[in-house]
C-alpha cells in the first residue's frame, strides 16, 4: 500500500504533507510555508551553514540527531524524521538555551546572520561532547562560515558551554524515548508516492521496493544525501522529477565487516563511515575530516560520491587504491565490477538504465602494506579537491612488490596512475626509483587548469605526493602539516 503524504515532526509538531514538490527544499518549507525565519539562506549550496538545522532519525532503533544544511535537503527525504530548528531552543520560561547563552556571553555574534546556524552546529556538538577539545570544536564548525567574528569568540563559547547547562537535561535528551516512539509510529512500512510527472516523488519502503521502482521508472533521479543533487535544483534549476528518495532505505545503510573487507551500503554517510572505514583504516579518518563539514558528512554518502562520477569526488581514488568492488543492482539481479572500471569518462559511468549502486566492498590493506591518502586544497577544510592522491604499496626487503596508486582531480575521472605503478613495482625502494616514478606521472595525467589550481600546480603537487609517500616510508619526521595531534 502506498501512502501519499510525507510525515515528520517539526520541533514539537506532527506534520503530514500531501502537497510536496519533489525539489522543494526544507529551507523553503521552513521560511516560506511555516514562516520560521530563524533559519537563514546564505549560499543555497550547502557550504556556509547559515541554514543548519538538526534532523533526528532512528538508526538501528537509536534516535540520532545530526546537523544538516536545510538549503539542499529536500522535504521528501524527511519522511519519518524529527526536524529541529533554532526556534525550538528557547526554554519554556523564555530563557536562552545554554549554547545560546554562552554565545551571547562570549560575544559570539556580530552581524548575527550566520549565528542561528552556528548555534545549531554547536548544539549538535554539545549533545555529543559537552566538553569538547579545540579540535572537536573546529571540526564541528567546518561547515559554518562567519565573516565578522574571526571565530575566536565562538570557539571560546564552545569551550565554556558545559558550564552553562547539562546536556542530559536538554529536552532532546529527556524526550528521547518519547520522540523515538513517535518516529517509530511514523514508520508504517509503506511506500510514499506523491504527484505525477514533473511533480512526482517516491520514497521506497525497502530495498526490493527501490529496485521495483527503478525498473518501472529508470529515468528517475536517485537522491540520497542530496549534497550534489541539491545544487542541481538550487543553482541550475534543473527539473529532476521523478525523484526517488532512498535515504530512508535501511538495508542500504548496512555495513558488513569481516577480517579482510568492509562492505558499505550505498546509503552509508561519511559520518557513518568513521565507524567502519575510519575505525579500521587510519588514513580514512583524516580524509573524512576533510570532506565538507559535519552537515555535508551527515548527509552525503559514499554511494552517492561514487554514483555521481565526479572527477573530484574524494572517496573513489582511495577506494580504487584499495581495489574496491562495486555492486550494482537492477531488479532482482546484482553484478559486481572493479570500482575503477565504473568510471568510463567525464559524466559517463558503467551504470545501466534502472540500475543503481547497492554497495561497495572495500578490501582492507594487507598487513604490512602501506596505505596513505593526501588531499590538496586551497583552504584546508571544507574545500573541493585540487589534487588527491591515494597510495597503497607493499614494500618487502627494500623492494616494492605491489602498488596501487589512484588520483582525483587529475583527469576526467578518478584514475589509477599506472605508469607510476609500473615504474615502482619490482624496483628497489629508493630515491632514484621514486624520481623515475615522479617523472612517469606525466604519462598518466595531463590535468587541466581551473579556479582551484593550474595544470602546472596539479602535476607538481601530485608528483610531490609521491615524494611525500616515500619520505614517510623512509622515516622522515614532520612531512605533513598537522594542526592537532590525532586523538
Amino acid at each position: 500500500m502506498a501512502r501519499s503524504e510525507i510525515r515528520f515532526i517539526l520541533n514539537g509538531e506532527d506534520i503530514a504533507l500531501s502537497a510536496v514538490r519533489p525539489d522543494e527544499t526544507l529551507l523553503d518549507f521552513l521560511r516560506l510555508r511555516r514562516s520560521l525565519r530563524g533559519t537563514k539562506e546564505g549560499c543555497a549550496e550547502g557550504d556556509c551553514g547559515a541554514c543548519t538545522v538538526l534532523v533526528g532519525r532512528l538508526a538501528d532503533g537509536e534516535l540520532v540527531y545530526e546537523g544538516v544544511n536545510a538549503c539542499i535537503r529536500f522535504l521528501g527525504s524527511l519522511d519519518g524524521s524529527h526536524v529541529v530548528t533554532v526556534e525550538h531552543l528557547r526554554r519554556p520560561d523564555g530563557s536562552l538555551h545554554p549554547v545560546q547563552q554562552a554565545m551571547v556571553d562570549f560575544h559570539g555574534s556580530q552581524c548575527g546572520f550566520c549565528t542561528p546556524g552556528f548555534v545549531m552546529s554547536l548544539y549538535a556538538l554539545w549533545m555529543r561532547e559537552p566538553a569538547p577539545s579545540d579540535a572537536a570544536i573546529e571540526k564541528a564548525l567546518q561547515g559554518n562560515l562567519c565573516r565578522c567574528t574571526g571565530y575566536e569568540p565562538i570557539v571560546k563559547a564552545a569551550r565554556a558551554f558545559d558550564t552553562y547547562g547539562d546536556a542530559a537535561s536538554d529536552p532532546l535528551a529527556t524526550e528521547r524515548t518519547e520522540m523515538a516512539r513517535r518516529l517509530a509510529d511514523l514508520r508504517d512500512g509503506s511506500r510514499v508516492e506523491i504527484g505525477e510527472g514533473k511533480d512526482r516523488l517516491v520514497v521506497p519502503s525497502s530495498l526490493d521496493d527501490l529496485a521495483d521502482i527503478l525498473e518501472a521508472e529508470p529515468k528517475a533521479t536517485i537522491v540520497s544525501g542530496s549534497t550534489d543533487v541539491g545544487l542541481w535544483v538550487t543553482k541550475h534549476m534543473r527539473d529532476i522529477a521523478p525523484v526517488v528518495f532512498i535515504g530512508g532505505v535501511e538495508e542500504l545503510r548496512t555495513v558488513i565487516e569481516d577480517e579482510t573487507s568492509i562492505t558499505l551500503g550505498a546509503n552509508v554517510s561519511y559520518t557513518d563511515a568513521y565507524r567502519s572505514l575510519g575505525a579500521r583504516i587510519p588514513a580514512w579518518r583524516s580524509l573524512l575530516d576533510r570532506i565538507g563539514g559535519d552537515q555535508v558528512r551527515n548527509m552525503g554518502t559514499i554511494g552517492g560520491n561514487i554514483a555521481n562520477g565526479s572527477p573530484i569526488g574524494d572517496t573513489p581514488p582511495p577506494l580504487i587504491a584499495l581495489g574496491a568492488t562495486l555492486t550494482l543492482r537492477k531488479g532482482a539481479k546484482t553484478r559486481d565490477l572493479p570500482l575503477e572500471d565504473f568510471f568510463i569518462d567525464y559524466g559517463k559511468q558503467d551504470r545501466g538504465s534502472g540500475e543503481f549502486v547497492q554497495s561497495v566492498t572495500v578490501p582492507l590493506p594487507k598487513p604490512g602494506a602501506i596505505y596513505r591518502v593526501h588531499k590538496v586544497t586551497k583552504r584546508r577544510d571544507e574545500d573541493i579537491t585540487a589534487v588527491l592522491g591515494a597510495f597503497h604499496l607493499e614494500i618487502e626487503g627494500g623492494r616494492c612488490v605491489s602498488a596501487r596508486i589512484a588520483y582525483g582531480g587529475m583527469a576526467a575521472t578518478p584514475k589509477r596512475a599506472k605508469a607510476v605503478e609500473a615504474a615502482l613495482v619490482g624496483r628497489d625502494w629508493n630515491e632514484a626509483a621514486i624520481e623515475e616514478a615522479v617523472a612517469a606521472l606525466a604519462q598518466d595525467f595531463a590535468p587541466i587548469s581551473d579556479m582551484r589550481a593550474s595544470a602546472e600546480y596539479r602535476l607538481l603537487a601530485a608528483q610531490n605526493l609521491i615524494r611525500r609517500f616515500y619520505l614517510e616510508t623512509a622515516g622522515e619526521e614532520r612531512v605533513t602539516l598537522q594542526r592537532y595531534e590525532e586523538a
Binding site: Y151, M451, L465, V479
Partner: protein
C-alpha cells in the same frame, strides 16, 4: 520585554561608555529572532524580482528576445533599461557611467540587462533563464597586467602624490631595485546577500527596505530612477547581515529595481539575488598591480620610492576614485619616505565595477609598501623587522606624509616595541631557524608588521552626521542616527554614549532602525567613521535635551545650574534626588522640548586633491601583529600557528566590541591575502562565485594561538567621542603579518638570501611556486 526598572541607588549606570556591553541584538541573533529584510512579513501580494545577466564580457546587444520569459509561469512583468521612468543610472560618482539595466551594450560578464518580476522568487529565477539575447562581441580585457596605465582607458581621474624628488633620490641612493607585485581582489562574502523590498505608497511615495550601508544614497538613486524627488522616497534598514563596504553603493541597483517595479505594478516587490548572482554582479575589492622602485642604503634606510598603483576598477567609476586615492594615502604605511612619488591608475576593465571594501584601497597601498620593506631587507640581509623599525615615522622630525600631513600622534615605536617583547619575536626567530634547520619539508616563518591607518573620509564633506533623540515622559529614550548597523556594534556604542550623557541604564535607550525620514542627508557608514560621527551627533542631541532639563530644574528649584547633577538613573537637584523619569515628567508639564536633532562635523580636516596636499585625516589608528606560520614545501599548504596582536582604539567605548572588530578584521585580512582568490576565465567569466569555489577562512584557519590585546594606554589626542578611536578598518591590515610570515617561511628554503616576492593572495599554489623558484635560483 518587561519595562525596565532603573536602580535608583546605583553608583554606575549599566551599559555606559567604557563597558563591555554586549551587542544590543545578541540575544536575538542566537535565537533567530533578529529580523533581516528577508525575514520581514511581506505585505499581501508581494512580488519577487530576479536579474537577467549578460553572457558576454563586452558586446553590443543586438537582440533581446524576452517572449519566453514573459510567457513563463508566474511572470507578471519584465523590465529593461527602457522601463526606467527616470534616469537609468546609479553611478555614485556622478559620472553617469553605470546603468541600472544595460541597454545598448554590456561591459562585463554578468551585467544586469533585464529584470523579471514574478509571483514567487523561484518563478522569477526560472523565467530569467529563458531569455534569448544576442550580442555582437567586442574585444575585452579583464587583467590590468594587459593594460598600459599611461595610455589605456581610466574610469576616473588618477592621483599623484609627491614629496621631494623621488627619481633623484633613487638615482643618488647607494642601492636601488625595482619590482612589481600583484595584489588580488576580494569578495565581501557578507553572509546576508543583497536584498531590497519596496512598498509603494500614495502619490510618488515608496518605502524601500534596503540592506545598505548608505540609506541616503539609496534614497537619492531611487528618486532619480523614478524621476521623483527625494522626499517621496524613504529608505530604512534596521540591520544588515554584514556589509564590509560591499553595501556602500552596491545596494543601489537592487533598491532601484524593486522600487521601479513596485511603483509600476502597485505591489510590494522584493529582490534577493542568489549568492552566485550576488557575487557575479556586484563589485569587490580592487585588485592592484603595484610597480615600485626604491633607493636605499646598506643600513636599510629607505631614501626614495617611486610607485605606480594600477587598479582593476571594472567597467565604471563607482568608488574607484577615492579607493585608488586611499591606496596612495597608505603607500607609506608606517614609514617616513624622504622622497616619494606615487601615481594611481584607475583602469577600465571588462569586469564588475569594483567598490568599497574594508580599508578602501588602504590595504593595497600598505601591502605595496611592505613589499618594498621586504625587498630592502633581503637586499641588505637585515631582518625585515629591523628595516621596518629603522624607517618608522619620527615624532618631531621625519613625520610628514607623502600628502604633506604631519603625523602628530605617532605611537609606532611603543606599539611595535611592546609587541616585539610580548610576542618574543627575537627568541622565536631563533627557535624557528633551529626548527627549519632540522625539518626537510615543513618550514616555519615569522613576521611582525605594523599598521597606521588614516581616519576620516577623504572627501571632507562626508565627515558630518546627524542624530535624533527623543525623551518620552516615562523617561525612556528613543535613539536614531544616520549610521547603519552591519554587525560592527555601532548601535550599541552610540546607545552607550547617549546612556552616559543622560546617566541612565542603556536598556532605557531604544535603538531604532536607520531611516532617511528621521535623519536626512547622511553619509555612508564607512571609512571606520560610524562611531566617531554618529556618536558625536547623538551626544550633541542628548546634550541639548540635558541642557534644557538642567536649565528647567535650575529655574524651577531656584538653584544654580551646577547644583543640577545627573547621577545614575536619577538627578540630584540641590539636596534632593529624584528619578530621571520624574524630572522628565516635570519638564514635560512645563512644556520643555524633549526632542533634539544632533549634528557633528569633523574639525581640522581639509584636502586639496589637485595640489596633493592637506590634512585629509583627523587622526591615525595604530596597531601591529606578529604571525608565525608553517608551510608544507611539497604542496604549498600552510597553517597559522600563532598570532599576537597589539592594537589601539584610543579610550575604548566598548572593549568587547573593539576586540571583536580586531579579531574579525584580522581574519578577514588574512583571508584576503591567503586563500581568497578571484579567478576569471578566458571568456571573462568570474569562476569563483560561491563558497564552494571562493574560500574565506574557517574556524580551523584561525591562528592556533591567538593573543589579542588592546593598547589601553592610548587615548585619542583629538576630541573624539570620549577620546575613543575608530576600529572598523584598521585591524584588517594586521593580516599582512601572515603574508609576510609565509614569505619568511618560503625564504628559508634559500637561506633567506632571495626575496620570495610572494604575491597575494598567497594560495598554496603561489607558495609552492615561490618555493620552487627560490630552490631553482639558489642552486643556480
Amino acid at each position: 520585554m518587561t519595562r525596565h526598572q532603573p536602580n535608583l541607588t546605583a553608583e554606575k549606570i549599566v551599559g555606559g561608555v567604557a563597558t563591555d556591553t554586549r551587542h544590543d541584538s545578541a540575544h536575538k541573533h542566537v535565537t533567530g529572532e533578529a529580523v533581516y529584510i528577508d525575514d520581514m512579513a511581506e505585505p499581501a501580494g508581494t512580488l519577487h524580482a530576479c536579474l537577467g545577466l549578460s553572457t558576454v564580457a563586452h558586446g553590443k546587444i543586438i537582440g533581446m528576445d524576452l517572449t519566453a520569459v514573459r510567457a513563463a509561469p508566474g511572470v507578471v512583468e519584465v523590465l529593461t533599461g527602457h522601463d526606467v521612468p527616470g534616469e537609468n543610472d546609479i553611478s555614485p560618482s556622478g559620472r553617469h557611467d553605470e546603468p541600472i539595466l544595460a541597454t545598448e551594450k554590456v561591459e562585463f560578464f554578468g551585467q544586469p540587462i533585464f529584470a523579471v518580476i514574478a509571483e514567487t522568487r523561484e518563478a522569477a529565477r526560472r523565467a530569467c533563464a529563458k531569455a534569448k539575447v544576442t550580442y555582437e562581441e567586442l574585444p575585452f580585457v579583464t587583467d590590468v597586467g594587459a593594460l598600459d596605465p599611461a595610455s589605456d582607458k581610466l574610469v576616473t581621474e588618477p592621483l599623484t602624490l609627491k614629496r621631494g624628488e623621488a627619481a633623484e633620490a633613487i638615482a643618488a641612493a647607494p642601492r636601488r631595485l625595482k619590482g612589481s607585485m600583484r595584489i588580488g581582489g576580494q569578495d565581501h562574502f557578507y553572509l546576508e546577500g543583497h536584498i531590497a523590498m519596496a512598498v509603494p505608497g500614495e502619490d510618488d511615495d515608496v518605502t524601500v527596505y534596503s540592506s545598505t550601508q548608505h540609506p541616503s544614497e539609496v534614497q537619492h538613486m531611487v528618486a532619480h530612477a523614478l524621476g521623483t524627488s527625494s522626499h517621496s522616497v524613504t529608505v530604512e534598514i534596521r540591520r544588515m547581515g554584514g556589509g564590509f563596504g560591499g553595501k556602500e553603493t552596491q545596494g543601489n541597483q537592487f533598491a532601484a529595481i524593486a522600487a521601479i517595479a513596485a511603483k509600476k505594478l502597485k505591489r510590494a516587490v522584493k529582490i534577493r539575488p542568489d549568492r552566485d548572482d550576488d557575487m557575479i554582479a556586484t563589485g569587490k575589492r580592487h585588485d592592484f598591480l603595484v610597480d615600485y622602485e626604491v633607493g636605499f642604503d646598506e643600513a636599510g634606510n629607505i631614501l626614495g620610492v617611486d610607485y605606480l598603483y594600477a587598479a582593476r576598477c571594472g567597467f565604471s567609476s563607482d568608488l574607484s576614485g577615492p579607493v585608488t586615492d586611499r591606496a596612495l594615502f597608505h603607500c607609506d604605511n608606517a614609514y617616513f619616505l624622504p622622497a616619494v612619488k606615487a601615481v594611481s591608475a584607475p583602469l577600465y576593465t571588462n569586469t564588475v565595477s569594483n567598490t568599497a571594501f574594508r580599508g578602501f584601497g588602504g590595504p593595497q597601498g600598505m601591502v605595496g609598501m611592505e613589499r618594498v620593506i621586504d625587498e630592502v631587507a633581503f637586499a641588505t640581509g637585515l631582518d625585515p623587522l629591523d628595516v621596518r623599525k629603522r624607517n618608522f615615522y619620527g615624532t618631531d622630525e621625519r613625520n610628514v606624509t607623502p600628502y604633506h600631513q604631519t603625523v602628530e600622534d605617532n605611537i609606532l615605536d611603543r606599539i611595535v616595541g611592546e609587541l616585539e617583547k610580548s610576542a618574543d619575536y627575537a627568541g622565536r626567530r631563533e627557535a624557528i631557524a633551529a626548527f627549519n634547520a632540522g625539518s626537510k619539508i615543513i618550514k616555519r616563518g615569522i613576521a611582525l608588521t605594523p599598521v597606521k591607518f588614516g581616519i576620516s573620509f577623504t572627501a571632507t564633506h562626508f565627515n558630518q552626521a546627524g542624530a535624533l533623540v527623543h525623551v518620552y515622559t516615562d523617561g525612556s529614550v528613543h535613539l536614531n542616527h544616520g549610521g547603519t548597523e552591519m554587525g560592527q556594534g555601532l548601535y550599541v556604542k552610540v546607545a552607550q554614549v547617549v546612556a552616559e550623557e543622560f546617566q541612565i541604564d542603556a536598556s532605557n535607550v531604544k535603538i531604532t532602525a536607520t531611516t532617511t525620514g528621521k535623519v536626512p542627508n547622511t553619509s555612508a557608514t564607512a571609512a571606520s567613521s560610524g562611531t566617531d560621527l554618529n556618536g558625536m551627533a547623538a551626544q550633541n542631541a542628548a546634550r541639548q535635551i540635558k541642557d534644557r532639563l538642567t536649565a528647567f530644574a535650575a529655574e524651577k528649584y531656584d538653584l544654580p545650574a551646577e547644583q543640577i547633577v545627573f547621577l545614575p538613573n536619577r538627578v540630584r537637584i540641590g539636596n534632593q534626588e529624584i528619578p530621571f523619569g520624574d524630572l522628565v515628567k516635570q519638564a514635560y508639564m512645563a512644556r520643555i522640548q524633549l526632542s533634539a536633532a544632533g549634528f557633528y562635523k569633523t574639525p581640522k580636516i581639509h584636502w586639496d586633491r589637485d595640489a596633493g596636499s592637506g590634512r585629509p585625516f583627523y587622526y591615525y589608528a595604530y596597531g601591529a601583529a606578529c604571525a608565525e606560520v608553517s608551510i608544507d614545501t611539497l604542496t604549498g599548504e600552510y597553517m597559522v600557528d600563532r598570532v599576537d596582536i597589539l592594537h589601539e582604539t584610543g579610550r575604548s567605548l566598548n572593549r568587547a566590541i573593539d576586540i571583536g572588530q580586531i579579531e574579525g578584521g584580522f581574519i578577514q585580512g588574512m583571508g584576503w591575502l591567503t586563500t581568497e582568490e578571484l579567478v576569471w576565465d578566458d571568456r571573462g567569466r568570474l569562476r569563483t562565485h560561491a563558497p564552494s569555489t571562493y574560500k574565506i577562512p574557517l574556524a580551523s584557519d584561525r591562528p592556533k594561538i591567538f593573543n589579542v590585546t588592546l593598547a589601553d594606554w592610548v587615548e585619542n589626542d583629538e576630541e573624539t567621542v570620549h577620546k575613543s578611536k575608530a576600529v572598523g578598518e584598521p585591524p584588517f591590515m594586521l593580516g599582512m603579518s601572515v603574508l609576510h610570515a609565509l614569505s619568511d617561511a618560503v625564504a628559508s628554503v634559500a637561506d633567506h638570501r632571495i626575496c620570495p616576492r610572494l604575491d597575494a593572495p598567497a594560495t598554496p599554489e603561489r607558495v609552492l611556486m615561490a618555493v620552487e623558484r627560490l630552490k631553482r635560483e639558489a642552486s643556480s
